[in-house]
């Protein structure tokens, strides 16, 4: 089979099998990319996945781009990325079209009301999980509270003008990055921190 087509199709398969976000993808990548195709070694895959997590964007997409690019250059990177999003495009479009046509049916509305309540619990639970690993010392607690106050203030209290512009997620992310950098460079280091 044509190698480029193979890259696209393999990652389309990975996309279909990834159920629920980036972390669910790792075992599937191990099987398809490392064991079946040999496009990357186990070690490389772990590296790519680690970088996929700490670069902006969707983890699954970042990892797919990385593998494709390392194996077959820019075209490879683009093909694997398109492959991994292709199933989502089809499946979600079908469901969205279905739901928008049947949304007026009472049973569908009742089901969605139940589902929506459940989603709040899902978000709360993932916030707690994330919080445990990301909000852990003085500076990170400070950044968490500051960004939360600005973001929630903007969406719930309805900031306006400059404050509203300032409180957009993209701007807040940049502010937090700068704060993180300042905190690490300017605050006195505790014992046992990593050396250079």
């Amino acid at each position: 089979m044509n190698l480029y087509l193979d890259l696209f199709l393999t990652f389309a398969k990975v996309g279909v099998c990834t159920f629920g976000g980036g972390y669910a993808m790792l075992p599937i990548l191990q099987r398809e990319v490392v064991e079946n195709k040999g496009w990357a070694t186990e070690e490389e895959l772990t590296d790519y996945f680690a970088i996929g997590q700490c670069t902006p964007g969707v983890i699954a997409v970042n990892t797919a781009t990385f593998i494709g690019y390392k194996y077959k250059g820019v075209i490879g990177g683009i093909l694997t990325t398109l492959g991994v999003v292709f199933p989502s495009l089809i499946i979600i479009t079908l469901i969205a079209a279905f739901l928008s046509n049947f949304a007026h049916i009472p049973a569908v509305q009742h089901a969605l009301a139940g589902v929506n309540a459940c989603v709040v619990a899902l978000i709360a639970s993932s916030v707690i999980k994330l919080g445990k690993s990301t909000v852990k010392d003085g500076p990170t607690v400070f950044i968490y509270l500051l960004i939360l106050a600005l973001a929630a203030g903007s969406s719930l209290l309805g900031f306006s003008g400059v404050l509203k512009k300032l409180a957009s997620p993209a701007v807040l992310v940049v502010i937090a990055g700068v704060l993180g950098l300042c905190a690490r460079r300017m605050l006195p280091k505790k014992q046992g921190g990593e050396g250079k």
Partner: protein
């Protein structure tokens, strides 16, 4: 024009959302709030569908929002917008893999980015929760009432997800059960 705006908004999301699918929610909520293309309640349905279908959650949500705003072309454009920054960033980083992994600068910046990402998701979650739990009466009367059924169901699911034996279950199980409860109790 709407397609161009979609691409721009999702490009921004792809560029600034750090830490996986859930991290895109604050950006999507911001898009809904500033453009009026969809409400917080619509967003909640999109999250549920994205969690319970195959594919990365972030990509699913982009496709869903894009479709809601501008049909199939919207779905394609939003998804492409989301992945374009990834492709550019990864290709740049791939050339200096070792340097990037060991960079003190990157490490320090992410030290600030991670709690911020959590804060943004918290804020979006609060906003979604309000839209689900608080029913606004008339626009003029300013009467509020609490949707107790939703609140209780959410509390039960939340507790359920912390029970050791149920914790391992995929979110789709909780979503499915909640849909059934919604139908049974005519929520």
């Amino acid at each position: 024009m709407i397609l161009l705006r979609l691409f721009y908004e999702f490009f921004k999301t792809g560029l600034f959302a750090v830490g996986g699918g859930m991290a895109t929610i604050p950006f999507l909520q911001n898009i809904g709030a500033t453009t009026g293309w969809f409400t917080d309640a619509d967003l909640t349905t999109m999250i549920a569908v994205s969690e319970s279908t195959p594919g990365p959650i972030g990509v699913n949500m982009a496709t869903y929002v894009g479709f809601t705003c501008a049909g199939l072309p919207g779905a394609v454009v939003a998804t492409l917008g989301l992945i374009t920054p990834s492709i550019i960033i990864i290709i740049i980083i791939a050339g200096m893999l070792k340097k990037f992994r060991q960079s003190k600068l990157v490490d320090d910046v992410f030290y600030g980015l991670r709690p911020a990402s959590t804060a943004l998701i918290t804020s979006a979650g609060l906003s979604v929760a309000l839209s689900i739990f608080i029913l606004v009466g008339g626009t003029e009367t300013h009467t509020f009432s609490v949707n107790w059924m939703s609140l209780i169901l959410a509390a039960l699911v939340f507790i359920g997800m912390r029970v050791p034996k149920l914790k391992k279950l995929h979110p789709i199980v909780f979503i499915g059960v909640s849909a059934l409860i919604g139908i049974l109790f005519r929520m």
